[in-house]
């Protein structure tokens, strides 16, 4: 019995270590292939594919990310206001919403939305390609599947996730302004002046660095789940679910790490 528990724990640990190792190897290969995806210096077909991915991952996600951020902005402002007004400190709602979105909610909400939309789509697309032997066909044509399939998605996500994060933060902050206008008659221009005073470049940079890390996690987990599909269409479905669950979990885990690092290195 003891042996079986040890075996199980050992087996699970090895599987997780192997999974992280596979992610790292895939990331290294993708970084090598990224240069060939760039415009002018790379392969023009990869860049064209990256643009398609930017439309799918970024532009198509914009309404969803925007609405989520507006709702979260309202929620944060309302929750903050319900406590802060007891102390007559309503103006701190502006700080709460501004700092909350630039540092934390902007990148996190965007990553969760993109993970649900695109992480699952990446794994389903690649998983289907595995099942229909398209990945094998690429390899027999001496085309690297990581460069052909993954690198354009990676480049697209690295570009659009920071953009979506900025949009998400802006939507959340504007929602806070709308709430303040409705609840305290604070003019939007006054609200925005407070916002500008609250925004610190370091917070914005923190959010953008996080969004780059989240983009990397979402693309690589989604694609690895796809490449690992074995069997038929049911395996493709399972891989899409696993991609969303694992990437969302890893995004939150990475967020904890980043926030701890920024906190310990002097972020207020």
């Amino acid at each position: 019995m003891t042996t079986s528990i040890v075996e199980r724990v050992g087996g699970a640990t090895l599987r997780h270590v192997e999974y992280v190792g596979a992610l790292v190897i895939q990331l290294r290969n993708a970084l090598g292939a990224l240069r060939r995806t760039l415009p002018l210096v790379g392969n023009r077909y990869r860049w064209r594919s990256a643009i398609h991915q930017m439309l799918a991952v970024g532009v198509d996600a914009f309404p969803m990310v925007g609405i989520m951020a507006v709702c979260a902005g309202f929620i944060l402002a309302m929750q903050g206001a319900s406590e802060l007004r007891r102390f007559g400190a309503m103006q701190f709602v502006v700080d709460l919403v501004t700092i909350g979105f630039t540092r934390e909610l902007g990148p996190l909400l965007t990553a969760i939305a993109v993970s649900g939309r695109s992480g699952s789509a990446f794994s389903a697309e690649i998983g289907s390609m595995v099942v229909t032997e398209e990945i094998d066909a690429l390899r027999t044509m001496a085309i690297d599947p990581v460069e052909f399939v993954l690198a354009p998605k990676f480049l697209a996500a690295l570009i659009v996730l920071p953009c979506l994060t900025v949009i998400s933060s802006a939507c959340g902050i504007l929602a806070g302004g709308l709430f303040m206008r409705l609840s305290t008659d604070m003019a939007l221009s006054v609200y925005l002046r407070y916002v500008v005073q609250s925004i610190v470049l370091r917070d914005v940079m923190t959010g953008l660095v996080k969004s780059l890390a989240f983009a990397t996690i979402i693309v690589h987990v989604g694609c690895l789940e796809g490449f690992r599909v074995h069997g038929g269409p049911d395996a493709v479905g399972r891989s899409a679910t696993a991609a969303v669950v694992k990437s969302t979990f890893l995004v939150i885990l990475a967020d904890v790490g980043f926030t701890a690092i920024f906190y310990l290195t002097g972020g207020k």
Binding site: N43, Y45, T132, E133, E134, D136, A137, R139, T140, M141, A142, I143
Partner: protein, 275 residues
């Protein structure tokens, strides 16, 4: 059947030596030896689970054996560097069982893909070459369509056109007749024969369709439970007395262990009783 000889006087372009492949402790290929000569059509025959598709994946370098060597044009696929493997792959065209065309691209873009990836040709030249490859397989007027708009037989022909795009020395087919009606399957056989006559390629075909195999093969290799049980010309295999070959050629099913129970089941079923 070890070291099955290649055609007399011709150098083998593919040499398989003592290849062993296991999955989860189960031997799928057990010491395979096979030579395929330049310019010949070798058909790998065998039932489901015989290891013929695994052997094909080894020959095209998609998997590496646990032991043994696979030499293609003198390059050992089991031990070569990835760069050498990539270079070699450009001389091998593969038509997959389900065509494996990219649905996100048109048929002509599928065929043009290897040219765009591996050559620096002008786009106009690539278009012309793509049109020629499609014309060879009789699909010149279907280039603009999506692969989803093609019938099963047309998809397979488009896959052949893509396999031909870099003018390979070796052309490999995985189950070319699978899922096709006899007329379309026969057309594909004629296409394979025509390609071989026109370009003098080495052709390797995996199939279990006997009619197709007899039509296109110069030599055949029969696999059974991961071992090669016979290699030879059509005549040699037809006259081979190996019980498994006879069973395969004569389409005799394996004996069902408990036929009595099965007969009883059918009897009760036909009588409308509870089964």
């Amino acid at each position: 059947m070890a070291g099955a000889p290649a055609h007399a006087g011709t150098e083998p372009v593919i040499s398989v030596r003592d290849v062993v492949v296991s999955y989860n402790g189960r031997r799928v290929l057990d010491g395979i030896n096979l030579d395929i000569s330049r310019g010949e059509t070798m058909v790998l025959l065998g039932g489901s689970g015989s290891g013929k598709s695994t052997l094909l994946r080894q020959i095209i370098g998609l998997e590496r054996p646990q032991s043994g060597r696979i030499l293609v044009n003198g390059v050992d696929l089991a031990n070569c560097r990835l760069e050498d493997l990539k270079k070699l792959r450009r001389s091998i065209g593969v038509a997959f069982q389900n065509a494996a065309l990219f649905n996100s691209m048109s048929v002509e873009d599928n065929v043009a893909l290897p040219l765009r990836e591996h050559t620096r040709l002008e786009e106009s030249t690539i278009r012309l070459m793509t049109w020629m490859k499609l014309a060879v397989v009789g699909l010149a007027e279907f280039g603009k369509l999506s692969p989803q708009a093609l019938s099963g037989g047309m998809k397979k022909r488009a896959a052949v056109a893509r396999a031909l795009s870099l003018d390979p020395e070796i052309l490999v087919f995985d189950e070319p007749s699978a899922g096709l009606d006899p007329i379309v399957a026969a057309e594909l056989d004629e296409l394979i024969l025509g390609l071989k006559r026109a370009f003098n390629m080495t052709v390797v075909v995996v199939t279990h369709e006997m009619a197709s195999a007899f039509r296109i093969a110069d030599r055949m290799a029969m696999l059974y439970k991961g071992s090669l049980i016979a290699v030879g010309t059509k005549g040699e295999l037809q006259s081979n007395s190996h019980p498994r070959i006879r069973q395969f050629f004569d389409r005799v099913p394996d004996k069902i262990a408990d036929t009595g129970a099965l007969d009883e089941y059918f009897q009760r079923y036909l009588e409308g009783g509870s089964v």
